[in-house]
Symmetry: C2
Subunit: 107 residues, 2 copies
Amino acid sequence: MDECHRYPQVCGRYHAAADLLGKRWSVSVVAILVEHRTVRFNQLRDAVPGITPRVLSERLREMESTGLVERHVVASMPVLIEYRITDKGAALIDVVAALQRWANTYY
Amino acid sequence: MDECHRYPQVCGRYHAAADLLGKRWSVSVVAILVEHRTVRFNQLRDAVPGITPRVLSERLREMESTGLVERHVVASMPVLIEYRITDKGAALIDVVAALQRWANTYY
């Protein structure tokens, strides 16, 4: 049975979106990128307490493949790798802001 | 170094809150409970496409332990188990609504 029929307010598109954020640290990494737009790997690692480099790499690869973030190689010496939030990712700002308000109340 | 100093907008409380929702289906289960307030296990299972009973049980136990949901046993024949969203959980409605708007644009 189609869940959109039984639960019209919480539908397939919502679950697809929720699934994009449904891994540990995803919502944290998105927040840092939404705020800073362009961030280097080590800055992200320092900004998310407890995340390991391996897991951060995984999350960034996932976010690249779902179109939330772009990886840019800056031709400098040494070469710099930057991660930039896309328009699609930046549009999550309302989600981040709402969670921030909730965190301020409950944490 | 304290990440709240370097990233004042995205601080420890935010990451703690994000961590509560950082598992697959958490954000989906919260949405169904926010909308319906009181839901039975099987209703939740039917409402979240792709979730298995084992994972749903895990998520509900986690959400009980973090105070987002309460488990109630209804003295009927047969006995009914209901899950009710708490005030703390229901306050996530703005997060759910923001994600819903985002999903409607991008999915």
